[in-house]
Each structure stands twice: as C-alpha cells, then as structure tokens.
Amino acid sequence: MAEMTVEQLADAMYEMIKEAKGMKKYKATDLQKAMAERFGADKQTCKQAIRLLMDSGRCIYTYFGGSYIEIPPDQPPAP
C-alpha cells in the first residue's frame, strides 16, 4: 500500500470521528491505533495529522474525565 500523506490520514481520522459522532468518542490513541491497523500509519505521521485537524479547526479537544478529539458542535456548548 502506498504511504498515506498527513492530509489523507487527517481525512481518514475525520471520517472516523464523524461516523461515530453522538455514539462514541475517540482519544488520540484510538485514532492512532486505527490508522496503524488500517493503513500501517506510523505514530509520528498520526500526530501530525491530529495537529492538522486541530490547527485547521476541523476538530477540537474536549475533556470529559479524559481528553477526547471531536468535531466542534454547531452551537456553542450548553454548560
């Protein structure tokens, strides 16, 4: 398999998060493990992909007893 670029990995992660939205929350390690399994992606590239998702604002970190990566809500969060 051709090596995935950071952008492609970020897209794959985004899809995974989107599909699970409302049902399951992922942590950084969940995403990284899934990418390693599906595409043989290495840790460093996964880190860069997550960074890309964050810096572009497509994803945000949330905290619920642990740190998760999610798609920002349409509405600002009700506390």
Partner: protein, 397 residues
C-alpha cells in the same frame, strides 16, 4: 471595571478572623474591582449555607490547537450569579524554580484584571500559575497576551502536565543536580506532549534536588527525579564539635534517630557507615554545615506516584538508581526512557489508568521488561525492599 453586587456573607466573614492569611479577604479586595469576584462571594456563601457545591466542570473550552491549559468550570446557579456562570481556570507554565521579575508579575496581573476575575493562585499544586475564573470569549485574548509576555499555557487533561521543580541550585546547598535545567529541558523537549493530549491519563514530572523532596515528587509525580549521591556524606568534624559544644546531644538527637542506625558517636568523633545510609537527610538537615550530601552527586528516577482519584494513593518506586544528568548521554537515556514508558502505557493502558496503576496491574517486572530495563536490586519500592530480585537461603546439600 465596575464594583460588583455586594452580598451579605456572614459565614465567609468568619474566615477573615485570626492572624493568618485569608482567601476571603483577598476575594473581597478583588471584588472592589471585579464583579466576578463579587459574585463568587455570593455563590460561596450560598454553598456554605446549603453545604452544596455549585460548580460543574469539564466540557469544551480551550484555545485553538491546544488540548490542555484551560479547564472548563461552570456554575449551576448561572441565573442567580451570571458573572460566574462561566468560571474557567487557566494553567500557565511557570518559570522553572518560580523566579519572576516584578515586571513579569505585573504583566500577568494586568492581563488577568482585564480579562478575568483578577484572582490567581500562585502556584497550584501542579506548579503552574493558576488564573481562576474567566469566560469562554476571553480565552484567546488571554492566550495571545500571555504569549506576547513570553508565557505559554501549561498542561491539563490526558497529557504531560507542566513539569515542576524545586529551586535547588539557585538557593539550596543540598541540591545534587540542576533541577531547574532538567525541568526546563524536559518542558522544551516535550512541548507536543504538553499541549496535545495523547495519553490514557495525565502524566506528571517533578524534580527535587535532594531527598528532602521539597516538591513532594515521590508522592505526586508519575515520574519523580530526586537528587542523591553515591559517595560518603561530607563531614566537617570541627563543625560537629561546635554543635556538640553548643548543647546538641549528638547521641540522643542524631545518632539514635538515624533510621538505619549507621552512625556512631564516641563523645568526640562522629563515624558514619555510609554503606548503610539510606540518604534520608535527617542528620544532614539537623547539622547544616557540619554534614552535607557527598560530592558524587546525581539523581534517582522513580515511577508511579499518584493521589487517590480513580484508585488509591501510591508512592513512586525506583526505576534508575543513579543518573548523572550532566552529560548528553544520560540526558538522552532519560528522554528515551520516557518515550518507551509512554509507548507501552499508550498501547496497553486503560482509559484513566495512571502509569503507576498500569505498572502495578501488569506487574512491575513485566513493565520493566516492556520498557527495556533490567531489574536491579537498587530499584527499591520501599527502603530495603524491592519487587524484582528475590533472595533465597542457600539449600544445604
């Protein structure tokens, strides 16, 4: 800023009495300028009346790109106290050893009076500068002003927490290695791990310059680096004699209190059997200038302390009995060790399982093997006790 609404707070007022510092007095002073601090007094008094806390926490707050540094706090009485409906905490990476210029302190206070409650906690038990109480819309403004002042956010959530150290070399003759240098270097080396949470749970690192452990690393840090020495306690017999002449009962107050009974006093000369010294610091603390840590100084690296949150409290146990931390090689060893620990823990650790709990669950022996360390007798979990090497009485033929 305008003065906030005034609340009648008889219960809080009780806490202004007495000669000690009072947080109520400080919050009242802040309330002169900050409606947020004023409302905090109102909500707090109500909590004391009802014996119910009114804070909720967690959720979705932060600055773009970072997963740590901001801790979401909300009041469940937002209608009654709208000024504290949002009351987020910001953690700011403190300078190693907590040294500031007054200019930097003024800068921090100015930012916080403009964009937050004005209330700070210098410093939190994580070591960070803590800004208490602001709203979501102020976060990016605070962040950009902080960076302009040369500060950065600290850690929170499942990441490397802001490393923290005692101010050893700067002020303290017991320091066995440069805690501030190691703290700074670790902070800079692991910026990504501090700002982008990628672990099963938090990971704290604390550096103490000697076994006195002024930052309580052994009880609070997932990775504790504690100064120690290899050779003999430095001894100045003239000074010891002076202590004795001035009335210190060396036999009763020092020798008989040494935990391993490795000292001897014949009325004139103190003899220490250094091979049996466990470096508890007791005699050294009791006779400053007469005794001091040895000359061959370095540090011990320990793993696994934590306070009781999901499971009970745990003290850390020894991973590396002695590391120099002055040369490039030992520094690289330490960084590699951390990478190995995180690798194994991220792979196998459960959600919200601290690394010490993880090591306990899989067995410390298996954990050592996974991170590539050989068990050694010096890796004690408690004084004179180690979980890896077992001694058997030789069988007679």
């Amino acid at each position: 800023m305008a003065e906030g609404k005034k609340y009648v707070t008889p219960k809080l007022d009780e806490l202004e009495k007495g000669p000690w510092p009072s947080f109520v007095k400080e919050i009242k002073a802040a309330a002169q300028k900050s409606p947020m601090a004023a409302a905090l007094l109102g909500q707090l008094e109500q909590s004391y009346d009802e014996k119910i806390g009114h804070w909720k926490h967690g959720g979705i707050v932060g600055v773009v790109g970072y997963g740590g540094g901001v801790i979401g706090r909300y009041s469940d009485l937002g209608d009654k106290y709208p000024e504290v409906a949002h009351f987020h905490t910001i953690r700011i990476n403190q300078p190693a050893g907590w040294f500031y210029t007054t200019e930097a302190l003024r800068g921090l206070c100015d930012i916080w009076e403009e964009h937050g409650s004005g209330l700070t906690n210098m410093h939190g038990s994580t070591g960070d500068i803590i800004f208490l109480g602001t709203t979501t819309d102020q976060l990016e403004k605070v962040f950009s002003k902080l960076t302009a002042l040369g500060f950065d956010l600290g850690g929170s959530g499942s990441d490397v927490r802001t490393p923290s150290c005692c101010n050893g070399m700067a002020r303290c003759e017991w320091a066995c290695y440069d805690t501030m240098k190691v703290c700074y270097n670790l902070t800079m080396a692991f910026q990504d791990e501090i700002h982008r949470p990628a672990f099963p749970y938090k990971f704290k690192m604390k550096m103490a310059g000697c076994p006195n452990d002024c930052v309580a690393a052994i009880a609070r840090a997932d990775l504790s680096i504690i100064g120690t020495w290899k050779d003999e306690i430095q001894q100045d017999d003239e000074m010891i004699k002076k202590f004795a002449d001035e009335g210190l009962d060396i036999q009763r107050q020092i020798v008989s209190r040494c935990p391993t009974r490795c000292m001897d006093w014949d009325g004139k000369k103190l003899t220490i059997n250094n091979e049996n010294c466990v470096k508890c610091m007791f005699c050294i603390n009791s006779m400053p200038r007469a005794l001091a840590p040895g000359k061959e100084r370095g540090a011990m690296v320990l793993l696994g302390a934590k306070a009781p949150i999901v499971q009970g409290a745990q003290l850390s146990s020894v991973l590396i009995p002695f590391i120099d931390l002055e040369d490039e090689e030992s520094w690289n060893d330490l960084k590699q060790l951390l990478e190995n620990i995180w690798e194994v823990w991220c792979e196998e650790g459960k959600n919200r399982e601290r690394v010490g709990e993880f090591a306990l669950r899989v067995g410390f022996g298996n954990f050592l093997e996974a991170i590539g360390l050989e068990p050694r007798p010096e890796m004690v979990a408690y004084p004179r006790d180690n979980p890896y090497v077992f001694y058997q009485t030789a069988k007679k033929e």
